[in-house]
Symmetry: C2
C-alpha cells in the first residue's frame, strides 16, 4: 500500500521516501480566500474536506464563478471514500454542483443545516437524484477505509459548523474548518472544548487550521455584541429599519427577528436567497420566528413605517441584490426614504469595498440614516482572531501545523503564531493549492506540486475559458477592437472592395472620420506592399503586416492599442 502512495501520479518523485505517509493536497483555499478544498490521502483511501467556490477577481473578465481544479483526483476516483462538508457557506459547498459529476458522486457527509443548503444547490442543477447525502451529527463516528472520522462543533457565522478529526494509521489529523470561539453564541451552542481537549491529550499529528483572521490581534467579539447595537438602533429609529446581511448568516437574522419582536415590529424578508435560506432554516429548526411576525413585502404597506423591519440581501453591494436595487431606486417594492434606518450588518469581502461604498453613498443620497462597520458595531467576523488561533493550538498541541484558508499573508501570520507557541519552524508547512504535503510521524514536507489552477465557470461553460479567451477580453476591455475588412479578387489578388473599418470600444467613430480615412489608406498601402505576387499571396503574412502597420499608426495617433483584426475575403 505504501509503495502505491509514493508511486502514484503526481507523487513524491522528488524527495518522498518509501515509508507510508499521510498526504495532504490542498486543491483550493491555500494562497487565496475561497474555493476551499482539501484532499487527505493514506494508502488506498482518500477523504476530501469541502468543495467551495470563489467569486472572480476583477481581471477575470466575464467569469461567473471559480471552482477548484480537481485534475489531481481524476485518476483516483475509486479511492475517494467521502466528501466531508464542514458548513454551508458558498466557499465550502458552492463547487459541488460542478465537481460532483467530475468526482463520480462520492458520498457526502454533512450536518443537518449544511445538508439542507447543499440540497437547495443540487436541486437547482437537477443533481439531487444522483448525489449521495448523509446527515451527521457532531457526535458521530465514521469508518471510511483507513480513516476513522469524528467531528467537533465550532462557532462560525452559520449554525451547524463542525471541524473534522481524521484518525489515520500514523496519527490524528485535524481540519478545523472555519471557526471562532464564541462563549455566548446566538444559538447557545459553544464550541466543543471537551472533544478538542481530549484529542489534544491523545496527541495530534497535524493541524490544518483556519487562517482567515490570523492578522487580527486579540479575540473576535461574540455575536452577542450585535444585540446592544440593534437594541439602540431599533429603540431610536423613527421609521423603517432595513438590515442587510449574508443570507447564510442565520444567527444574524435571528437577532434581527428577536429585536424586532421586542420593539413590536413585523419582519419582511427581501431577496431571493434570503427567503429560501431562512425558509429552510425555519423548517429545520435553526431559525425561530414567532407566529405573526413575518409579513410579505407586499403587505408592509398596511403597517406604519415604525412597525416594520426588513431583512435583505445585498450587504456586499452585489449589483442585482435587493439592497443595491434599493440604493439605486429601482427595487420592485422597497423605495428608500428619509426616516429609514439602514444597517449593513456585514463587512465587505476583500475586493468588494468599492461596491459596498457605492451602495452606502447611494442610500445616503436618498436621505436614509445608514450604519455600517467602522461607524457602528453592527457586525462581527465569523473567524477567530490571533488569540483564538492560539487557543486552538494550545488545546490540540499538534506536532505539525499547516495553515489553511487564506492568502500567503494570512498563512504566514498563522505560521508565526505557531512559532511563537513553540512549534519548530520545520514542523510548519506553508503550502498553496496543488502542493503535495507528506506527513510522517517524524517529518512533514512538501514533496511535489500538482499544477492546480483556477477553473472558470462562465455561463454554461465550465473550464473552457482559458488564458487565450481571457487575454482577448483584457485587450478588448482596455482599448476595444478595430476591424479592417478587405475583399480581394480570387484570381488577381487585387482588392475589389473595402477596406471597411469597423471599431467598437476604441474611439467615438463619428468624430474620427479623418483617422479612419487615414487608417484605410494605411491598410491599402500595406496590402499593396505585401501581396505583390497576386493570388499566391500568403494571407496570414499579409494580415500580420496590416496589423503591425495599422497598430503602429493608431498608437502614434491615439496612444491606444486596440485589438486589430484584419479580415481578407476572397471572391
Amino acid at each position: 500500500m505504501g509503495s502505491e502512495v509514493v508511486n502514484g501520479r503526481g507523487s513524491g518523485h522528488k524527495k518522498g521516501d518509501k515509508s507510508p505517509a499521510v498526504r495532504l493536497v490542498p486543491l483550493g483555499g491555500l494562497g487565496e480566500v475561497g474555493k476551499n478544498m482539501m484532499v487527505i490521502e493514506y494508502g488506498e483511501d482518500i477523504v476530501i474536506v469541502d468543495a467551495g467556490l470563489m467569486f472572480p477577481e476583477a481581471e477575470m473578465l466575464g467569469v461567473d464563478l471559480v471552482i477548484p481544479d480537481t485534475g489531481y483526483l481524476h485518476d483516483k476516483l475509486d479511492r475517494i471514500r467521502a466528501l466531508i462538508i464542514t458548513h454551508g457557506h458558498e466557499d465550502h459547498i458552492g463547487g459541488l454542483p460542478y465537481l460532483l459529476p467530475l468526482l463520480g458522486f462520492p458520498p457526502i457527509y454533512a450536518t443537518k443545516l449544511t445538508r439542507g443548503l447543499i440540497e437547495v444547490k443540487l436541486k437547482e442543477r437537477h443533481l439531487l437524484g444522483q448525489a449521495v447525502l448523509n446527515t451527521i451529527t457532531p457526535d458521530d463516528h465514521l469508518d471510511l477505509g483507513a480513516f476513522g472520522i469524528e467531528f467537533f462543533r465550532v462557532n462560525h457565522s452559520i449554525p451547524d459548523a463542525v471541524g473534522v478529526i481524521i484518525r489515520t494509521p500514523l496519527g490524528i489529523v485535524v481540519h478545523t474548518g472555519d471557526y471562532k470561539f464564541d462563549y455566548t453564541p446566538v444559538d447557545g451552542l459553544p464550541a466543543d472544548f471537551g472533544t478538542l481537549a481530549r484529542i489534544g491529550k491523545e496527541g495530534v499529528l497535524a493541524l490544518m487550521g483556519d487562517s482567515t483572521r490570523a492578522e487580527s490581534p486579540g479575540y473576535t467579539p461574540s455575536e452577542r455584541v450585535i444585540n446592544d447595537t440593534f437594541d439602540k438602533l431599533f429603540a431610536n429609529a423613527p421609521g423603517r429599519i432595513i438590515v442587510a446581511t449574508f443570507a447564510s448568516l442565520i444567527s444574524r437574522v435571528q437577532q434581527v427577528v428577536d429585536t424586532a419582536v421586542r420593539y413590536d415590529r413585523r419582519v419582511a424578508l427581501v431577496g431571493r436567497t434570503m427567503i429560501s435560506n431562512t425558509q429552510m432554516a425555519m423548517e429545520l429548526g435553526y431559525l425561530k420566528i414567532p407566529e405573526g411576525t413575518l409579513v410579505r413585502p407586499e403587505d408592509m404597506f398596511f403597517y406604519e413605517p415604525q412597525q416594520i423591519a426588513i431583512v435583505c440581501t445585498g450587504s456586499q453591494g452585489e449589483p442585482t441584490s435587493a439592497l443595491t436595487r434599493m440604493a439605486n431606486g429601482d427595487h420592485r417594492i422597497v423605495r428608500v426614504q428619509p426616516g429609514d434606518t439602514i444597517i449593513l450588518s456585514a463587512t465587505p469581502v476583500p475586493g468588494n469595498e468599492k461596491l459596498v461604498g457605492r451602495t452606502i453613498n447611494n442610500l445616503l443620497r436618498q436621505g436614509a440614516e445608514v450604519y455600517y462597520p467602522g461607524i457602528a458595531p453592527v457586525h462581527v467576523s465569523g473567524h477567530g482572531s490571533q488569540e483564538e488561533l492560539k487557543l486552538m493550538m494550545n488545546l490540540l498541541r499538534p506536532r505539525f501545523l499547516v495553515p489553511v484558508h487564506g492568502e500567503m499573508r494570512q498563512l504566514v501570520a498563522h505560521a508565526k503564531l505557531g512559532k511563537a507557541l513553540g512549534i519548530p519552524e520545520d514542523h510548519i508547512v506553508i503550502a498553496e493549492d496543488g502542493d503535495i504535503i507528506e506527513v510522517r510521524p517524524e517529518r512533514i514536507q512538501k514533496v511535489d506540486h500538482y499544477p492546480s489552477g483556477n477553473v472558470f465557470v462562465d455561463g454554461l461553460g465550465v473550464g473552457e475559458i482559458g488564458s487565450i479567451v481571457m487575454r482577448d477580453r483584457q485587450v478588448l476591455a482596455q482599448d476595444g477592437i478595430l476591424m479592417a475588412i478587405l475583399m480581394v479578387d480570387k484570381e488577381t489578388g487585387q482588392p475589389i472592395a473595402g477596406p471597411d473599418i469597423i471599431s467598437r470600444g476604441f474611439i467615438y467613430m463619428r468624430d474620427a472620420d479623418e483617422l479612419i480615412e487615414l487608417a484605410r489608406t494605411h491598410v491599402l498601402e500595406s496590402f499593396g506592399m505585401h501581396s505583390r505576387n497576386g493570388h499566391t499571396a500568403d494571407w496570414t503574412y499579409v494580415k500580420a503586416k496590416i496589423k503591425d502597420t495599422l497598430g503602429d499608426f493608431l498608437y502614434e495617433k491615439t496612444k491606444r492599442r486596440p485589438m486589430i483584426l484584419p479580415v481578407v475575403m476572397e471572391v
Copy 2:
C-alpha cells in the same frame, strides 16, 4: 454686479434671490475621492482652489486618468483671477496639464515645494512656458478682484501644505485643503493655530473642510509614531531594508533616511517618481540627506545587505512600480531574497486593496519579512480624524459648513460632526460636484446644478471617451465579440461568400466547430428570411435581425452575450 451673478449661465434660476451672493461650485472631490477642484465666485471675480486628477475606477475600462469637467467655467474665463493650489498631491495638481489650456492659463499661486512639483508636471507636457506661476508663503496676502486671499499652514502627508482664507465682501470663506493637526511633525512646522484662531474670532461665513477621515473617531497619530517602528525594524533587520511609500511623502523619506543614518545604512532610491521627487525636495531644502548617504541602486552591491536601505515606489501595488516588479521577480536591479525586511509604509487607497494584497503575498512567497499597516504601525494618515475636524470647527466657528473632499459617506459624517458642535442643520450643505451653492450672510443654499461629469483621459484623447465607447468596452470585457461577415451580390442581393464567423474573447474557437457551424446556418437563415426583396433590402434591418437571431441562439447554447457584429458587404 449682483444681477450678473444671478443671471449668469447655469445660475440660480430656480430659487436664487437678487442680493449678491458668494457662490461655491465644486467641480471635483465632492461625492468622490480625488480630482479636487472648487470654484469660488463673487460678482465678476472667480478664484479656483486646486485642480486635481482621479485614478479611474474598475469599470472605467482602459481609462488612464479622470479630470474635472470645467464646462461651467468655459464662458467665464476672463473672470478667473487665480488658481490657488493647496499642496502638491496628484489629486490637487494632477489636472493642471489638461485644464490649464482649457482655462486660458490663469495665474497659479502655490508654495515653493508645491510649485516645484507643478513645474515637473508641466515640463513633461511642454506647458511650462505658457503657465504663469507665482510662489507664495503662508504669510502672503493677495488682492484678487473682490477677494483678499490669505493662507494658513496645515499638516499633511507632504510638506508646504496650506489652507486658504478668502475674504469676500460678504464675509470670510475658508477652504482647509487637506489637513491634520500634528503637534510633532517631522519637518517641525505645526499647523498655524494663531491665524486660525484670529480668523475665527473675526468671524467665518463659510467653512469648506476636508472630510476624508470624517468616519474615523479620535485623532490621527503624529508622523513621529513611525519613528519608533522604524527604529525597532532597523535595529533587528538581518539584511536589507526596503521601504515603499508615496513618492510625495517627503517626510516619510526623511524618516527612513534619518533612521538609516542612525543604523549606519546607505540609502538607495528606486523608482522614477521617487527619484525625481526627492531630488527636487532636496534642491528646495525640504529633504535633508547627509553627504555620502545616498548610493546609486547599481552600487548597492558593493555593500553588505545590512548596510543598505532602499526607498521605493509601489506602496499601492501599481503594476509597473518598483515594488510590484520586485514582488514579481522582474525588477531590473533589486531581487527580493530571504533576509530582506520590506516595509509598506502606506495604506491602500480605496480600490487598491487587492493589488496591495497581491504585492504582499508575492513578497512573502520570496521569503522576505513584510510589514504593513494592520500588522505593524508603519503608516499614519495625512488627514485629520473626527477630533481634529471638531478642533478646526471650534477654532473657526463658521456660520455655514460645506464638507468637501469625500464620498457621500464622509461628507455626511462630517456634517454630523458639525451638527454635534451646534451648527444648525440648515447651515450645513452636503453638495456634490456641479452643485451651485449660494452663500449670503443670512442663508446658504443649493440653487442649481451644472451637469458636471467625469472627463476621461485615454491615451492622447481628453474627453472624447464617452459613454458609448465605455459601454462597448464593458460588453467586450464581459463576453467578447462575434462577427458574422457576409458578402452579397449588389445586383441580386444574394449571398456569394460567407458568412465568415470570427470571434475574440467569447469562446475558445478550436473547440467550438459545431457551435460556429450552427451559428453560420442561423445567419444564413435569418438573412434569407429578411432580405427577400433582393437588392432593395434594408441592410440595417437585416443586420438587426441577424443580430437578434444569433444573439438568442448563442445565449441559449452558452448563456453568454457577446457583442454581435453582422457585416454585410456588397460586391
